[in-house]
Amino acid sequence: MGAWLFDPAHWSGPTGIPVRLLEHLGYTLLTLLIAAVIAIPLGAFVGHTGRGGFAIVGLSNALRALPTTAVLILVVLWAGLGDFPVYVALVLLAVPPIMAGTYAGVRAVDPMAVDAARGVGMRESGVLLNVEIPNALPLIYGGFRGAALQVVATATIAAYTGAGGLGRFVFDGLALQEFGQMLAGAVLVALLAVLVDLGFAGLQRLTVSPGLRPAGTGGKR
């Protein structure tokens, strides 16, 4: 693996490691963005109104059972090769954990704080945006980071239908019986997953109020 990974020839050109890494990162980030735009408002709305919670939980579980490979292949058969099938498959993978995290997070906000928010004269939109969502952020991030890990790992499969990303090394290695290339691909994916998670952990630290950190870490008493 080391020999393949550190061969300078594999680090340049349109099929080199940097390009595949960026492709993989691109799939991941755009997928997460689309999934968040769908899942966070949905989870937050249902969490806020308390209506349809059963549907959200059921939908999340059903989507979790969906095999990504099958979705990818189906969309390819229907719409042709390209990046579109990859995004459909990965977004369907990322939506359930983000939606479930958002829903659980909003439901878990101290009902006293929500009551007080209404009581001091916030409108419903204010209650949701200024109290419920900020307080739900730790759980939203929990679902989001879980989704990110899954998406980074699963984006590998995109290469099966000829798309790019680090999965190329795995499938090309498999086709050519090049063990070093396969292993290098796998290690790069795991490494990227760890880096992406670190990135979101940093973002979480920046955007979640220190008042919501576990007791005793929010500052001096």
Partner: protein, 212 residues
Amino acid sequence: MTWILENWERFWEVTAVHLRLSIVPVLAGFALSIPLGWFASRSAKARAVLFPLANVLFTIPSIALIVITPILIGVKILDEINVIVPLVIYTVALMVRSVSDALAAVPGNVIAAANAMGYRPLRRFLTVDFPLALPVTIAGLRVATVSNISMVSVGALVGLGGYGQLFTEGYQTDHTEKVLAGLIGTVVLAVLADGLLLLIGRLLTPWARAGR
């Protein structure tokens, strides 16, 4: 749907393989995660090692693990063990945390009362701690089972059995119905397994719903 009816025998065959490839790792992984989870619930040091390790294992793509396994343990690429081992690893990675959280959440006063009445450690674990930890543990087991059933298909990308074979064959022959059949099979299996575990959980923990 017509494909399933017209090819009932083939469908039944891949279903059996799929079931075997997903149930065996769940059982093995669950069995392994009980002692590990117990250990993690007792020791902060064990947690500091096991939890990050579980997270890292989770980040390895399943397809990669499936192709690496045969080389690591020296079997042929078409051996079913190549799917089973990665899925055992994922199951353990998921369940260690569930079991540990579940055991840690057993009320301290219950444990103190059991100790005060003279339970020895093993008996207390089997008859007090573990039963009380079951609801959370089973919730974790449901997630692990559903994701295993969905993940078995990945094995087909390297030529292994299960519904995944229908996906790859359907892809190669441009046969949408075949892919759909596998997808429906996977989802139905997942829903059935999830419902079964839910039911088992309810039967095993009648107290969890008392007083509601």
